[in-house]
């Protein structure tokens, strides 16, 4: 598929800080991309650059090959759903939804029909005359979606679409949004700091840190093959322990950790690591508890119960903390027990150079 929306070398500075640093990305038509990152990572600035509310210091934004970098938001035809929805409080639901259509010169019965259609799309048929402050949070969000979609924009932008909702409502709304956007088939970029949200809504996820694009890929790719320690730590649960690389083996790398030797699988295409200090990033399911000469010694310091299994926090002799998933009743707090690489989990252990932040 050819690229529908392309971002090339996009850079934005505010005073001395670089909010977005040379980001290049592309989306195919109808694709959903989630921009994921901690606060201050530049994801909201990215979205505002796409919407045209900010002008980049360098780089381009292309839609179907057309350069829209300098096109004012008014003429860009990008729909946006704001974090706090930004519904016009003095207009009713239908007037809000019809606002963008009126900008396009749609009037009379056609306007009415298209507003009705947009409201039906978000399952709010019949609420036309309602004041927006009489709606629940979830309804307001759907009005905001209908308002953004009604003028049939080329790209849909969502800024933290679920952050204003009740936690109990979030999961359901997440699915509704995903289904709706799939149905409409619109190319979508959304910003979030919640990985669950990014994983469920994004066909692909772009991880940002300090304005830089760290990695972009499907949720599975990010989880299974994080490009660096930050992505590994930010996406999914994990713990980190310092190790020493001893040398390559046939299918991986031999390391020394807390005085014992482990072998870590090397993903295809990744360069061989030179002997020396390194960091081991371990998913909880890549470790198991058990007594074995190859095990490192640990003390159970905490347990997080999640039903079928529990996450145990383990303190090692060197003072590192590791998280291990195991059956809820496997060990008790304060008990000393060995930690081993899990036999089943392939790809849950990742080595990164020690100097990498």
């Amino acid at each position: 598929m050819s690229a529908f929306l392309t971002v090339e070398g996009l850079t934005k500075r505010f005073d001395r800080t670089v909010a977005v640093d040379d980001v290049t990305l592309s989306l195919s038509g109808g694709e959903m991309l989630a921009l994921l990152g901690p606060s201050g990572s530049g994801k909201t600035t990215m979205l505002r650059l796409l919407a045209g509310f900010e002008t980049p210091d360098a780089g381009r934004v292309l839609v179907e090959g057309e350069n829209v970098t300098r096109v004012e938001p008014v003429h860009r035809r990008f729909g946006m759903v704001f974090q706090h929805y930004a519904l016009f409080p003095h207009l009713d639901v239908a007037e809000n939804v019809g606002f963008g259509l009126e900008s396009l010169g749609v009037r009379g019965t056609e306007l009415g029909e298209r507003v009705t259609r947009a409201l039906a799309l978000v399952d709010l048929a019949g609420l036309d005359g309602r004041r927006v402050d009489q709606l629940s949070g979830g309804q307001q969000q759907r009005v905001a979606l209908a308002r953004a979609l009604a003028p049939e924009p080329r790209v849909l932008l969502l800024d933290e679409p679920l952050s204003n909702l009740d936690p109990t409502l979030r999961e359901r709304t997440r699915r509704e949004i995903r289904d709706l956007i799939r149905r409409v088939g619109i190319t979508t970029v959304l910003v979030t700091h919640e990985q669950d949200e990014a994983f469920e809504l994004g066909d692909r996820v772009a991880v940002l840190r300090g304005g830089r694009l760290e990695q972009v890929g499907t949720p599975d790719e990010l989880y299974a093959a994080p490009a660096n320690r930050f992505v590994g730590g930010f996406v999914g649960r994990s713990s980190v322990i310092p190790v020493t690389v001893l040398g390559p083996t046939e299918w991986g790398t031999r390391i020394s950790v807390e005085g014992v030797e482990w072998e870590v699988e090397r993903p295809a295409g990744q360069p061989v690591m030179l002997p020396g200090a390194a960091l081991l990033l371990a998913r909880p399911e890549a470790l198991r508890l058990g007594d074995d000469p190859q095990a490192i010694a640990g003390t159970v310091t905490g347990r997080r119960f999640t039903g079928p299994s529990s996450f145990f926090t383990m303190l090692t002799a060197s003072g590192a903390t590791l998280e291990v998933v195991a059956p809820p009743a496997a060990v008790r707090e304060g008990e000393r027990v060995g930690i081993l690489p899990s036999r089943r989990a392939a790809g849950g252990l990742h080595l990164f150079p020690a100097e990498q932040p």
Binding site: E72, G79, F99, S103, V132, A148
Partner: protein, 554 residues
């Protein structure tokens, strides 16, 4: 790009307009004071410093203003606590009545005082009869009389600001203090007073500046006691224009100095927004205490409303029929009919209405443009625009009137000076400039409360600047615009200070007609004008603030 360019042009034009009508006249006044027949001179300044009357007037201005603050605080703060913290019988009505002097134009208050406590006033006559005195028990003249009027008309600032601050107190803070073992006095000292500090400082500043610029009371009651505003008028009447300029500059300097002092004094953090619920009013359980508090509150309200009531009463009395009786023997509506029947009497009404309307429209338009530009554009010289919009507030009315009279009495188009003194346009211009601070403050507050993403939402939905302004910004700002407009209208409608310096026979406003009616002993007509002024002000004010409660979510 072009839109940003257009905004810059707009900002530049607005800046030029404000510089021309706010700053330029003041600069001209300052320059005039140090200009002689040949070049610059300090002669006038030296004469000013060496003149005992001027020094006395300057000192008089200073100490009466300080005393006014003290008296207004003494009256206003207890009233605010009484109404704001205690559950009194009829507390809501009482709370509203006590705020009434806020809408009473200064001159009307002065006239009402004259009817009440003057030598032939209602109360004076009553006391003479009761005590069988040959002469009135007092003379309503001098510094004492001025302070009385000031305390009466300015307690409102303390009352309103402190009451609002009390309502914004977070009940859980008081509960937290109590649970930490703080007694009532410690809670007041450590929690309530710090919370009230911004309100107290604000009210003190407001009172000081109003008292410093006060003209009506010293003009009517001052007698031999001069303060700077009346001194300036007297000097000008003597034809000593340049000395008057120096006096004007000294008053402006005093005002700015006070402003500076207050600024540094109030550097502390404000009470800020409240998260919890307001504390509920204290219910007085003991019956006797409850009655006493009620009597105190209502008694004070009656005393404070007596001038308004007297004015209404006098407005229904035919000329010369009420001499020594405690209550008027005859009533009539003739005084009101005369206002509309007699073309000469209608004129001031019409004048005040059109001039106040024009000034209001202008002040609202300029304030809106200034507020939007300074809120939205980082490129706009926003601090300068905000400063210019606020400047007239720091300058006493007399000073501004003189400044405008100086700037616009000669024709020098290249220097931006046109002859406007003596024309229809000088008074609306003066009102407009004087209204900028109060109007722009109301409108800027509304603009700040607007969610900027509403603007962006409109843009992303394809609405251009004009459509966004028309469909989104202005409808949402309606409460703020109406509040700003009503404040501007009320101030302009009742203005006396600037009017007396700049009016002509054709543009004479109501306030001056009240004064001339009084001089012709047409007491009933003067009172009728006063009532009209009071009623229109109250209605417009109520309209403006009532709109402020409209829904404005988002």
């Amino acid at each position: 790009m072009t839109r940003r360019f257009a905004a810059s042009i707009g900002a530049a034009l607005l800046l030029a307009l404000l510089l021309w009508m706010v700053l330029y006249p003041l600069v001209l006044v300052l320059a005039e004071g140090v200009r002689g027949p040949e070049g610059w001179t300090l002669d006038h300044v030296r004469r000013f410093v060496g003149r005992p009357t001027d020094m006395r007037a300057l000192w008089g201005s200073l100490w009466t203003s300080v005393a006014s603050v003290a008296l207004a605080a003494l009256l206003g703060i207890p009233l605010a606590f009484l109404v704001g913290r205690y559950d009194l019988p009829g507390g809501r009505v009482l709370g509203g009545l006590l705020a009434l002097p806020a809408v009473l134009p200064p001159l009307v208050g002065v006239v009402a005082f004259l009817f009440l406590y003057g030598e032939t006033g209602f109360v004076s006559l009553l006391l003479m009869r009761l005590l069988r005195l040959e002469e009135p028990p007092w003379r309503l003249e001098g510094a004492g009389a001025i302070l009385l009027v000031h305390a009466y008309s300015m307690y409102v600032y303390f009352y309103l600001l402190v009451r609002a601050a009390l309502v914004s107190l977070d009940a859980s803070q008081l509960e937290a203090a109590a649970s930490l073992g703080a007694g009532r006095w410690r809670t007041i000292r450590r929690i309530v007073v710090p919370h009230l500090k911004p309100a107290l400082v604000g009210a003190a500043l407001l009172t000081f500046m109003t008292a410093l610029g006060s003209f009506s009371a010293p003009y009517v009651f001052g007698g031999g006691f001069r303060v700077m505003p009346t001194q300036i008028v007297a000097t000008r009447l003597n034809g000593e224009n340049q000395l008057a300029m120096v006096e004007t500059a000294s008053l402006a300097a005093l005002a700015l100095l006070a402003l500076l002092l207050f600024r540094t004094g109030s550097a502390g953090r404000g009470g800020g927004g409240r998260k919890g619920a307001a504390p509920s009013r204290i219910v007085i359980r003991r019956r006797s205490a409850r009655v006493a508090a009620g009597v105190l509150g209502w008694g004070l309200a009656a005393l404070l409303l007596l001038p308004h009531l007297t004015l209404v009463l006098v407005s229904f009395v035919p000329v010369g029929t009420w001499t020594t009786e405690p209550l008027p023997p005859v009533y009539t509506v003739r005084n009101y009919l005369m206002l509309v029947d007699d073309p000469v009497r209608v004129r001031p009404l019409v004048n005040s209405i059109w001039m106040a309307t024009v000034a209001t429209a202008g002040a609202v338009a300029i304030s809106l443009a200034g507020s939007l530009l300074s809120a939205r554009r980082r490129t706009a010289p926003r601090r300068t625009i905000e400063g210019l919009l606020a400047l007239p507030w720091a300058v006493p009315g007399t000073v501004f009137a003189i400044a405008l009279a100086t700037a616009f009495s000669v024709r020098e188009p290249l220097a931006g000076r046109f002859v406007m003194v003596g024309t229809l346009w000088i008074l609306p211009l003066a009102y407009l400039v004087r209204n900028l601070p109060i109007t722009s403050r109301a409108i800027a507050a509304g603009v700040r409360a607007l969610d900027p993403s509403l603007d962006e939402a409109a843009a992303s939905l394809g609405a251009g600047r004009a459509r966004t302004l028309r469909r989104v910004t202005i409808p949402l700002l309606r409460p703020a615009l109406l509040a700003g407009a009503s404040l501007a209208f009320v101030t302009a409608f009742g203005d006396f200070v600037t009017s007396i310096m700049l009016y002509t026979y054709d543009t004479r406003p109501i306030s001056l007609e009240i004064l001339s009616s009084l001089r012709q002993a047409d007491v009933g007509v003067a009172a009728a004008y006063g009532v009209v002024l009071m009623l229109v002000s109250a209605v417009v004010f109520a309209l403006g603030s009532g709109q402020g409660r409209g829904g404005n979510a988002g």
